[in-house]
């Protein structure tokens, strides 16, 4: 019968409409900003730098080796290596980044900097509410904005952070045994 196809379609629409009152599967609206989805552990947005201890300046794990700067596909990282050395969180004198800028107006969240970093110093952040009315300075993340504590890292990526910590302590112990 002509029209039955359209009526069938209407029935589906009706079922979806009524179903949305009963089934979670059919009503999936998230009422952002009041209601937020929990972001999955692996979620990534922009990189940040990890520091140990309480001092954001002294505890920075980054040693300014510039590997991430070189590997970053859109070239959005800018590092200036320090001229002097400073003891890192394990007490070993190391270079540190005098400047560490990430242009988040260019970054494409590809995570390659995290993968290539041999020091577990750069990780992916989950903050996404970064809308600004200005572009140039507002979207250039400087070292002090990028530096975040290891505790913060544990908060946002608990499983991954535990793994990284275990790896670092193992490496430190292996080093101790050697010396």
């Amino acid at each position: 019968m002509i029209g039955s196809g359209v009526l069938n379609g209407m029935a589906v629409t009706m079922r979806n409409f009524i179903g949305s009152y009963f089934e979670k599967d059919r009503l999936i609206t998230v009422q952002y900003p009041e209601e937020r989805e929990t972001l999955p552990e692996n979620y990534r947005n922009f990189p940040f730098l990890i520091f140990d201890t309480d001092d954001a300046e002294a505890g920075l794990r980054c040693v300014a080796c510039k590997i991430c700067e070189k590997e970053c596909p859109p070239q959005c990282i800018y590092i200036v290596k320090s001229e002097d050395k400073k003891p890192d969180y394990m007490g070993k004198p190391q270079f540190y980044p005098a400047t560490f800028d990430i242009d988040i107006s260019v970054c494409m969240s590809c995570q390659i900097c995290v993968e290539v970093c041999p020091f577990e110093a750069i990780k992916m952040d989950k903050v996404f509410e970064l809308s600004r009315r200005e572009r140039f300075d507002a979207l250039l993340m400087r070292k002090n904005e990028l530096a975040k504590s290891n505790t913060y890292y544990h908060n946002i990526h608990p499983l991954e952070a535990a793994e990284v910590d275990a790896k670092l302590t193992e490496a430190a112990e292996a080093k101790k045994k050697k010396t």
């Binding site: 900003p33 947005n45 859109p74 107006s105 809308s131 009315r133």
Partner: protein, 206 residues
């Protein structure tokens, strides 16, 4: 009684009077809650824009679900995606066709600065070279929530706009341009490569 009015409001009332202030509030409330975006997607971010308008994130909760296919009926242009040099004149033209007051959200890295594709020969390094942008959202692509956040940021901006006085909104100022010159296709690049009336980058010394 007057002690309860907050200081900012009082100075505002003194300057503009109660009639203007409450009209302004009503006017901005109306504008803020019925922003009609231009139905216009460029690239990857456009899909996130559609996802924002779709059932999960539901832009309709903010009064922005009325995507207009014609720029003549739109208040907001969401530049969602990479702006190529071939597309840039069209975008400026669309912007010029929009009626005042008009706003621009630059969504995603590509629209802000060329983003990951900024090394490309055909990629415009930021739409703000030709038209003024109100809100920038970094991210590649930004989550739908990030677009909602930018939308709220824009609503706040609209809320803060004044109808009269020195700092009145640019669209009420007859001296402020509301249309911008459309770049032309040149033999090697767009001509001009940027509009120096709009684009004021800081000089960086390294």
């Amino acid at each position: 009684m007057s002690g309860q009015v907050d200081e900012g409001l009082r100075s505002e009332l003194q300057k503009q009077g109660i009639w203007v202030t409450s009209t302004q509030e009503l006017y901005n409330w109306g504008r803020r809650n019925s922003i009609w975006p231009l139905q216009f997607g460029l690239a990857c971010c456009a899909i996130e824009m559609i996802a924002t308008a779709a059932s999960r994130y539901d832009l309709a909760r903010f009064g922005g679900e009325v995507f207009r296919p014609s720029p003549r009926q739109a208040d907001l242009m969401i530049v969602a995606g990479t702006v190529t040099k071939k597309m840039a004149p069209q975008i400026v033209r669309l912007y010029n066709q929009m009626p005042d007051p008009k706003y621009v959200i630059s969504m995603g890295a590509c629209a802000i600065s060329g983003g990951p594709f900024k090394q490309g020969y055909n990629v415009l390094k930021g739409i703000d070279r030709y038209i003024p942008v109100d809100v920038y959202i970094p991210g590649c692509p930004p989550r739908p929530e990030a677009l909602l956040h930018a939308f709220m940021e824009l609503q706040r901006k609209i809320d803060g706009q004044k109808l009269t006085g020195e700092s009145k909104a640019p669209f009420l100022d007859a001296n402020q341009p509301s249309e911008f010159p459309v770049p032309a296709f040149g033999a090697h690049d767009l001509e001009p490569p940027l509009n120096s009336d709009v684009f004021h980058p800081p000089t960086i010394k390294r």
